[in-house]
Amino acid sequence: MKQVIKYIVFALLIGLSLYNAVYFESLDDHKRGQNKGVFDVKTLAIDFMASKTETLPAINASEFLVNIADDITGYCKNNGKKLGISDNYNFIIEGNATVATIEDENILLVLNDDKEQHIRIATDFIFGNAIRDASAIADIGDFQNTMDFNSISVELNNIVRETVVPLLKQKVEEDDELYFKGAVEVNTKHPDLQHLKVIPLIIKFKK
């Protein structure tokens, strides 16, 4: 009898330790747990493009062009956003314009506020950090690894390349009137104001 009790107690102890040693969870829950705390750049970029661009403060494109032509360094220092030690300043600008020419890599616009003012909307070679830095979507100081911070630009540019640009290219014709909002980079050391290129965030045709 004593022997039986001994075996039962022994089996209970083994069972208890095994029960505490093994956990079961679904593969989806496990993967979610593993990715907890991992920076999700895609979600950040998608959320930004879907819900933040409309309300993003922007400078009137015509005023912007007048001001940088007048005092590029002073205007950039006071109104532009830059990353660390740099001569590259970034801005979000907006305006109403008419399509003047459809080029290989850009669309040349004439601003409605001043028909003498031109600006280009990029439709190819959508690269760089203009959107990330002009919108201040993230702070480099929050990123342990700078690669994560840089991947924000890659994702934002991908969305523009895959969603904004195809719609624009598909619809655009010369003399079209449109509203645009986008990011532009200006270098104060080697300025090239004749070839400023806006990376488009929003394009609305007025037809």
């Binding site: 001569d87 690269f127 760089g128 100081g141 342990q144 690894n145 700078t146 840089n150």
Partner: protein, 320 residues
């Protein structure tokens, strides 16, 4: 009745003097220690890092500190030894060029525990809590610009090789990712090989020679630094292909700048080790003088240098 004053016994006088001497002696030592800044560099076997180290030490001396350069010889154990020694020697700050983004974290941590601030230069460590500030080149953006130029030079088609730097260094991957974030969008540009040559000139030469045996029809080589670009160019000269294959580097080193001017190398990305080193030394000075609020990371912009705009630049951005 006034109390008679006790004459000072010789034993007491000796004790008092000893105490005073030891106290003043300690203060003097502390004062000396507070004037020392250590410059720890990953390797002095590469001229770019020599410029970085010497510029940091020079600026620290200009600011009134005694500065010593330590060479880690691309070895984290050697680097750990330097940190142990400089903490024991009472250095007030470290201007640090890490050997490995992960492997160097423990060394910076040790310095922090000992109350010695560390200012990283050029390379970052994978931690936001240990270094006081990190001044890094914006390698990614530089390679995005280089990538765009690369695509245009090759008319969006061709075969190329990528020579990577040290695989444990974040700069290696920031450069590679910046470049690929552009080039990979052009399907007619085919990367036939991607290999590490550890940022080393002779290794780059050997690696490219071996790659060319199975890929004789290359159009371009993208190298993660200028030392490798020079090694790649040497390999091309040896194979008689230097006129058929475009070479692209990164750093703005003297020999590559000359090679760009002589139309031997297509382009590089100019980093400014002098500006980076001076900024680190100035931040360390501010820390020693009491400032505590530093931005965790400060990227330093870089510039694309090509055969078309070479005249605007000096080596290592020497105009700064």
């Amino acid at each position: 009745m006034t109390k008679p004053t006790k004459p000072f016994s010789p034993q007491n006088l000796i004790l008092l003097l000893l105490t005073l001497f030891s106290l003043f002696g300690c203060n003097e030592k502390k004062k000396d220690a507070s004037k020392k800044i250590a410059v720890v560099i990953s390797t002095l076997n590469n001229p770019w890092f020599v410029v970085l180290g010497e510029s940091a030490a020079e600026r620290a001396r200009e600011l009134g500190y005694e500065a010593t350069i330590f060479d880690s010889q691309n070895n984290t154990s050697k680097e750990a030894e330097h940190f142990e020694n400089l903490i024991a020697a009472g250095y007030s700050a470290v201007l640090f060029n890490p050997t490995d983004s992960e492997g160097s974290v423990s060394n910076v941590k040790r310095a922090k525990r000992a109350g010695v601030p560390v200012f990283c230069m050029d390379r970052e460590v994978n931690s936001l809590d240990v270094a006081t500030s990190q001044i890094i080149s914006d390698s990614f953006s530089g390679c995005v610009a280089l990538g765009e130029y690369f695509v245009r030079q090759l008319n969006k088609k061709g075969k190329y090789v990528e020579l990577l730097g040290l695989v444990g260094d974040n700069n290696t991957w920031n450069r590679s990712k910046g470049f690929h974030s552009v080039v990979d969008l052009f399907p007619d540009l085919k990367m036939v090989s991607q290999q590490s040559a550890d940022f080393d000139r002779s290794k780059a030469m050997e690696v490219l020679e071996s790659i060319m045996q199975s890929n004789p029809d290359l159009n371009a080589v993208f190298c993660g630094n200028d030392a490798m670009a020079m090694g790649a160019y040497q390999a091309l000269v040896a194979a008689g292909k230097e006129k058929d294959v475009m070479v692209f580097g990164f750093d703005g080193a003297d020999d590559v700048m000359n090679a760009i001017a002589d139309k031997k190398i297509k382009a590089t990305v100019m980093q400014s080790p002098k500006k980076m080193a001076r900024t680190a030394a100035e931040l360390a000075d501010e820390y020693i003088k009491g400032k505590r609020d530093f931005s965790k990371k400060t990227p330093l912009a870089v510039s694309l240098v090509t055969q078309e705009n070479i005249k605007e630049f000096g080596d290592y951005d020497s105009r700064n």
